[in-house]
Symmetry: none
Subunit: 191 residues, 4 copies
Amino acid sequence: MPRTTEQNEKIREAARAEIINSAMILFAKNGYAPTTTRMIAQHAGISAGLMYHYFDGKESLLLAVFENCMGILDAAFSEAYLGSRPHERIAAIMGTTFDMLERDREFWGLFYMLRTQPAIMAILGEPFRHWTAQLRDLFITELREAGREDPEIEALLLYSLIEGTIQQYLLDPANYPLEAVANRIKNQFTS
Amino acid sequence: MPRTTEQNEKIREAARAEIINSAMILFAKNGYAPTTTRMIAQHAGISAGLMYHYFDGKESLLLAVFENCMGILDAAFSEAYLGSRPHERIAAIMGTTFDMLERDREFWGLFYMLRTQPAIMAILGEPFRHWTAQLRDLFITELREAGREDPEIEALLLYSLIEGTIQQYLLDPANYPLEAVANRIKNQFTS
Amino acid sequence: MPRTTEQNEKIREAARAEIINSAMILFAKNGYAPTTTRMIAQHAGISAGLMYHYFDGKESLLLAVFENCMGILDAAFSEAYLGSRPHERIAAIMGTTFDMLERDREFWGLFYMLRTQPAIMAILGEPFRHWTAQLRDLFITELREAGREDPEIEALLLYSLIEGTIQQYLLDPANYPLEAVANRIKNQFTS
Amino acid sequence: MPRTTEQNEKIREAARAEIINSAMILFAKNGYAPTTTRMIAQHAGISAGLMYHYFDGKESLLLAVFENCMGILDAAFSEAYLGSRPHERIAAIMGTTFDMLERDREFWGLFYMLRTQPAIMAILGEPFRHWTAQLRDLFITELREAGREDPEIEALLLYSLIEGTIQQYLLDPANYPLEAVANRIKNQFTS
DNA sequence: AATGAATGAGCTTTCATTCAT
DNA sequence: GATGAATGAAAGCTCATTCAT
């Protein structure tokens, strides 16, 4: 008895997700180039060839991985945004960010690994810049409404602080006083 | 009659430098893995095999490249440090950093590309962490002498600001107001 | 629909055998080092890469070749042993050996080529010494039961005669009176 | 002051001998293919390029090595031959052979390694066969003069015994009763 | 005679991808 | 949808050999 279209769709979706998930884990651990498609297939519990039913190739999978990253961040930031009141949004987003950072370092390692690769940015640079701009605009709006002067520059500073902090934390998580730094940043921008 | 040791030394030094330089340019442009040893040799104007007279292999060359990067930064920062008076050192180092950034984006792209690659940090992580710690200590000393309270945390914030700013500038150099941001940071930490 | 495990097993076994066979022929003809993996693949009628699905590398293939050699000899000697009565076993084994020698010189050329290579004996020396010892013990038992005095030394002499004869035959098969020599040895040890 | 022709000749001869000697040692230890010309040059204490003033290439050096081997054997056998009386020559040559074997295993390992290599025998097979024939003829003459019947076959048996014994000794020198075997062979052929 | 920097062909090996089943 | 045998381009690397000095 052949499967129904619906069942097939479910299988497809689950398999796709599993492949992306495996790729994320392995890319984060080893980097993009050193991770072979076979490693991904094995980790996902499928055969080497099946990957090509779901993705056009390794590069296509990479794109999906990056989109997945941005999707995860979007969801988290949207939730933080919607769940917070005006003037508290920056704090909410920062809180979410640093919570995620502590919970899932690999995710952020992957994220920064991807965005510093020339080959990857050549493909994904534009969507990423757009995504960045949106978040920055949100900061600007919040800072302006909070009555800060020069909110454009302030937003950039805030963005730099967050990114820089993430990177330094990742360099040596055991010894970095993430909480103290996070609090200091929050105080500075949400007074 | 064979060349003198001195002549050979000159040849060797020039060739080594040329190879490292070519590798830096190509790694910065394409990333480490996508850059082949043949590409490097061709760019350096030498044969494919000669690279292996000078380096044990591609990984060994990468190490040399990273050391070269740190050497360049050390030289620049040392000069800034020695050429400035106490209380002005942070400003001097920041000035040097942002000047270098504008003059040679590729260099910084390479630098951040290297330090976000798991495979690379597995080799170079320790020296890099050490190097980072030294710079941070310099910041702490300066901030303490300037009478700032909590200089340890402040130093981390400063470090984050600089790193984050560099990365955002690199994401979209044409539209990033580097000077304005740099000035703002300087004002904040050298009041 | 994918192949069944059984089908795959058949394919694998056939391919493995074909690769080993090709390697034996080419190693025998050219020696180990001068035979390239490409030559083996071409002779086996497969692509250059497929060899690496079946063997870990060239050295691993060499090991398989040697094991195959010993397996062939074991099978032949076992048959000779089981098919002969006590006191006739030495003659049976010698007969088998010299028959094989005339039928397949390359096989023996390969065998002696392998066991005189230092790099190869570094890997295969131990199993080979063990294999040799077993055959010698069989000789000793037979000679003792035949009532010869000093069967240990006699066994060594017999072994030397057989090996030395094989090597001299291989040096110039057209002119070597193998049969006469073989008969003489048989007479000497099975009187 | 330039060197005299004579001095040059001396230097040349010494250098040639040193290169051959180094090659013998390294070929014996590693085999022909795995030994690089650089290893030989280094062992001989000369530069990589200089070897090509003395030999046309690696293969040419190999030829010289084999000729050197045969020369060493010739010298030893000639001495044994000339220093012994008729009817004692086989004993003398065997004595010399087994003495040399115990004193310099590597030499014999090299010798058998070379003569079992197809690539080498393709070049050196003919001279070697000739050399072998001469020794065998000497055996025949001696055996005939000693009144043995069928001296041609006896000579082949003797040759086989000697070669086979050498090879088995080399396989496991520590445990092989060389002296006992040698005595037994001597008794058998010089009664 | 002597050096060692330089060459480049060709090696083993890897791996994204295809395809018969 | 699923398998894994098969492909072949291209990678890193070695090494006999050449050549300017």
